[in-house]
């Protein structure tokens, strides 16, 4: 990789670490230790310890100790869950909520301090560049995972997909009318906790795999995620013995159509009776 480009990235990392490091120390330093602060934040309006452990990736013993410390400061209470008395639920006290707001204000303070020394014009440039960096870094954090169709994260994706279609299709959309194929596998695009995209695959005829319900969340558009899902779907199908891939789509989805064409799909006559389909595509693998 180009040395100048690598140098720019390294310099970026160093500068950001230094700048935010110094300001964090100034604004957050002397306050609560990081572990407790993150916990305080995550408890919010009450969470059971199991969830807290999972989202923060903490050891059970360590979490317990952190909670004892916050409890000693009167910031949280921990009580047994009514339904299952093994499970314990942490809740913020009034003082805890106050502390949480204070942490929040201090984080705002850091952000303001970053912008403060700049002219309005420079601020605009910095904020725009930061937004660009965040977005592009997020691209690299997306992980694509193959799950089976019964996976709990699949249904919400399909529902989000249908909801999007209802808005996009010129001639309306009804989820009940669409074909319900026997889906074999679903690729989920994950960004940390959130699921930001999906595509379903099944094998309508031996050797031919069909793509259904390719969806990318609005928060993750413009990151090339559609292309990536398509590529991973092809790889997966090929790995399972596919010799061809096909899909249908609606004329309103111009972006998707352009993507399919540029990925080597060619338009073919209708191969199914999908009610909302206007274009049918095929690609030999």
């Amino acid at each position: 990789m180009d040395a100048g480009v690598v140098a720019t990235v390294r310099r970026f990392s160093r500068t950001v670490t230094q700048r935010f490091g110094a300001l964090n120390e100034h604004y957050l330093g002397g306050a609560r230790p990081l572990g407790e602060a993150r916990l305080l934040w995550e408890i919010g309006d009450g969470r059971d310890l199991r969830t807290l452990r999972a989202t923060l990736g903490l050891d059970s013993g360590y979490l317990s100790r952190l909670l004892r410390s916050l409890e000693a400061d009167g910031l949280v209470t921990v009580q047994a869950d009514a339904a299952d008395r093994r499970v314990r639920v942490a809740r913020l006290t009034t003082a805890g909520k106050r502390e949480r707001r204070a942490l929040d204000r201090r984080s705002d303070g850091v952000a303001e301090a970053v912008l403060a020394p700049l002219s309005p014009r420079q601020r605009e440039r910095l904020v725009a560049a930061m937004a660009e960096v965040s977005q592009l870094l997020r691209v690299g954090m997306v992980e694509v995972e193959a799950v089976d169709p019964g996976h709990p994260d699949v249904l919400p994706c399909f529902q989000a997909y249908f909801a999007d279609l209802a808005v996009l299709f010129e001639d309306g959309f009804s989820p009940d009318a669409v074909l319900q194929p026997a889906i074999e596998v679903v690729l989920l695009a994950r960004l940390g906790e959130a699921t930001v995209g999906c595509v379903a695959l099944y094998e309508p005829e031996p050797g031919v795999w069909e793509l259904k319900r390719m969806w990318v969340d609005s928060s993750a558009r413009g990151l090339g995620l559609g292309r990536r899902l398509l590529a991973e779907a092809e790889a997966l199908a090929r790995q399972r013995g596919a010799s061809a891939m096909r899909l249908d789509t609606n004329r309103s989805l111009t972006g998707a159509i352009a993507l399919y064409r540029s990925a080597g799909f060619e338009e073919v006559p209708p191969f199914n009776a999908e009610p909302h389909a206007h274009h049918w595509f095929h690609k030999a693998l």
Copy 2:
């Protein structure tokens, strides 16, 4: 400050921390602890402990222990300085240099991993945005400090200034010909260790302060540093009882001339015999 802007900055900070944090852990984790790695880096081709303490901001006892640990691993040697045997100098052994290169490669690895998942077009955008962020964050890190003309950092600035002029002036430049006023105070612009700008002040007539040798390093141009130095110079002069400020400049320095005008300076007849001056400016405070 606008909440959306603050949210963008906070999101940026979170995303960058997460992304680089995860990659650093992956590439640098398991290797040498951070403190030792930084020290190894900073020692380079041999540094005395006093300098190391200053640049890394370490406690003397702590530095000593870190060095013992690196010494035990055969990466550095520490010897008394020949001139002053109280001072000790740390040097990398061959193994130490190898280790330092390895750390370096791992840092490159992090940078490459950030770019790897992106398309060429996205990489370009990311690198451009990162450069912009670095530059603008650096603006906020610049500190302006008033020192007296004998300060050791002053002379290198003036020399850099003269070297720049020699390149810029259409009709050449000789440092020996310029006036040598009795400078009262120098403002230095500091960016971490480096001095990236300066301006000298003196009082040729009671109540009138004159600016000389305003310089901004090429690495820090376009950050509004000139304007800031000018503003700080005015503030300092006013504080010391100035009622007016003046300066002269060369016709080749069009950027500087525009800056003076926009800061409220007005062109006046020559008030000195500076050999390289074409324009003379004055501003009532």
